[in-house]
Amino acid sequence: VAPQPGPDVLAERNEQIDRLWAAIMRLGPKHREIIVLGHIEELSYKEMASTLDVPVGTVMSRLHAARKQLRAQLSGEQP
């Protein structure tokens, strides 16, 4: 049985998750969509390609653009 993380760790993790979600919500619809498919649904590139009806190459470039945008959002809000 893995040890339960302490309340401070949990609180920090929750805060970080909230911060991530806030940043994801600020993305454009296409970028948000690909982040959710890739990181929440954990689909493969092939699965995302057939879900979105686009080539696999487009999945990769869109995911890349979405992550860069997300990183910019996350670093932009930090002091």
């Binding site: 990181h39 929440i40 954990e42 590139y45």
Partner: protein, 149 residues
């Protein structure tokens, strides 16, 4: 292929989705290109951070949802009521049967019978007295409701 193309490949690379020939070309490029190596590190860190979104907190929220179900609450309530009722009936019956057996037994001396009878009556009186005390306090104690919460 320039650095910008390689950068896109880095995303496929860290997701394990880059086809073999491209993967080898990217790895060769990474060896000689510091900015791309830095980008690889940063994108890997971001991916690790995003993995937290999959993390689901068990505990309070789950528990509250469980208890909000009317069936679950009913089940637990009915379980406790049946258990208590069964315990009271079994204990009561056991006591009465034992008393009966002892009082009817001709080999048990009279003094012993009187003692056991007094013990049983005393227990019942104490129980009733305690119950009455509880009930009276419940009616008159104006703080009990707040304490109960």
């Amino acid at each position: 292929v320039n650095c910008q193309d390689y950068e896109t490949w880095i995303t496929g690379y860290i997701d394990g989705e880059l086809p073999e020939p491209d993967r080898r070309r990217l790895e060769e490029h990474l060896e000689g290109c510091r900015p791309c190596r830095l980008e690889l590190e940063r994108l890997t860190a971001l991916k690790e951070e995003l993995a937290m979104l999959k993390f689901k907190e068990p505990g309070d929220a789950e528990l509250r949802r469980y208890w909000s179900g009317i069936y679950n609450r009913l089940e637990r309530g009915v379980g406790w009521i049946l258990f208590s009722l069964g315990a009271i009936i079994a204990l009561g019956c056991g006591t009465v049967l034992t008393l009966e057996a002892v009082l009817e037994d001709t080999e048990v001396p009279l003094l012993m019978k009187v003692g056991i009878f007094a013990l049983a009556i005393g227990l019942v009186v104490l129980l009733v007295s305690m119950l009455r005390e509880r009930l009276t306090l419940r009616k008159t104690d104006k703080y009990s409701r707040e304490v109960q919460r």
